[in-house]
């Protein structure tokens, strides 16, 4: 949607919901208080002027100091859009109200963002990891995520494998011991530069 149209959306929102704080970021609307998100979405969905009845994409992003959740809304009835909504939360307390009660298409997409960024969508009917298994630790799309080295075994892994009768070569055991003595985990080193 053009910058002019997004300003009209903002004007209408401010007239109807005066206590919601909004800020224009580029061509998108930043909702300052995450709690207001469902109200704003419901207004955009049901106002006959906009009828943004289709949530195309809902995803997260990590900007080091904060996490962001981005929503792209379109209107199937009026054939217009997109309106981009943003919500920002701190990394310590990443709680955002879920849009799943308003748009069902958020169900799987919010589960994905929870899985990969660890954003907790409150009020989601079934907030579980989508792609990773339940015991998985960490959120892989966060910029500070450290990936385990699949080829180096840790002491806990060796204990688990040996308890099941699997023989481990001695050099692997020694490596695990030195790692444990140093108090380190087996982490893959990130490349300084990406591959060409």
């Amino acid at each position: 949607m053009s910058p002019l149209a997004i300003e009209e959306v903002k004007k209408n929102l401010e007239a109807r919901l005066p206590d919601v704080k909004l800020r224009l970021v580029g061509d998108s609307l930043l909702i300052e208080n995450p709690e207001d998100l469902p109200r704003v979405a419901l207004f955009l969905k049901e106002n006959p002027k906009f009828l943004f009845d289709y949530l195309s994409s809902a995803t997260g992003a990590d900007y080091l100091t904060f996490l962001e959740s981005v929503y792209h809304l379109y209107s199937m009835a009026q054939k217009q859009g997109p309106v981009v909504l943003r919500v920002r939360v701190t990394k310590n307390n990443p709680r955002i109200p879920s849009l799943a009660p308003v748009y069902r298409s958020a169900e799987l997409q919010e589960r994905e963002a929870f899985d990969t960024f660890g954003i907790i969508y409150e009020g989601h009917p079934d907030l579980r990891r989508l792609f990773m298994w339940e015991e998985f630790q960490g959120h892989p799309l966060r910029k500070d995520y450290e990936q385990e080295d699949a080829e180096v075994l840790e002491a806990a892994d060796i204990a688990w494998l040996e308890a099941r009768g699997i023989k481990i070569p001695d050099e692997m055991k020694e490596k695990a011991k030195t790692l444990q003595a140093a108090g380190q985990r087996a982490i893959t080193r990130k490349p300084e530069k990406p591959r060409n």
Partner: protein, 382 residues
Amino acid sequence: MEIINALKNTDETQILEINFGPQHPSTHGVFRMTIQLEGEKICGLKPVFGYLHRNHEQIAENLPYAAIMPYTDRLDYVNALANNFGYALTIEKLAGLEVPERAEYIRVIMAELARVVNHITVIGFMLNDLGAFFTPLLYAFRERERILDLFEEITGSRLMNNFFRFGGVKRDLTNANLAAIQKIVSKFPAFLKEFEALLTKNEILCMRCQNIGVLSGDTATNAGITGPVLRASGVNYDIRKVDHYSIYDRFDFKIPLGEKGDVYDRFYVRVLEIRESLKILEQALAKIPAGEIINKKSLPLLKMPRNFKPPVGEAYGRVESPKGELGFYVVSDGTPQPWRYHVRAPSLINLTVLEEMCLGQKIADAIIILGSIDIVLGETDR
């Protein structure tokens, strides 16, 4: 004896929970559903994802922009060209690159051929799921193979095409290629007629497909269902018509719509969409102009992909892929790799209402409902 008598006097049956997949041929890959059954009726269904997860998004965030293009082939590997299209469109939006006229035509021709390939494959596999064991599928594959041979000649690969570049395409279509496409396009309606004579009014097909897995238009809109599944429910929404991306506003084609939103409508909407795609192909082949196939500004980029740094900002580009709306959300921080790269996968989001469509149906119907949604696990799990 007492136990049998006790059971006779009650209607209650035991609820049986079964794991359907991930290693099951009719889940079209490694997709798993946990199904609760009451007799043969489904009373609960939970899809389980992630068996083909490779964190496509993180891989892409560590690569230069141009190097992501071949990875997008692996999303929906049945029609790689549509994925290329979506990604190229997004980056062009981000970097403000123009595409020359001839390249636009080549893009549309290739994308529509990919749509034909996808739809014919889906119909074939859906009939396979119905129990029409491999005969219709092989009829479909015979035609598909002709188009794939053409893809091999033009792009160098049958499935992993990697054909689009930012600001154009990799290779020009020669006159011989255009003639070959024309030949396929003019022969295709005869095949469709034969295919339809065998299937469309077939009594078994109608009985198995009609009134199965009904999805209402309102639910579909709210759940973000897109593509043929949405249009079979009677919602007129095609991104080619709405966004007019590339040069789709220059072609005359219709949007086929279903009435009920059952499996049969989804099957038939796809047949009709192939016809519309052929119409677009005819027009594009007649009108294709001579000229450049890639923007001059992006030529150095082909040689040195790491020098390509789009300005700081973000873009959301979407195309009507054969499966639905394929969206790419890319955030650039001015470095050679994207800061954030997200794929809005239609195969994943179209599964939101799978449970609702299957409830109360027989277990054999769940298979064709899944087949009619048309998922590719490379895209669902990413």
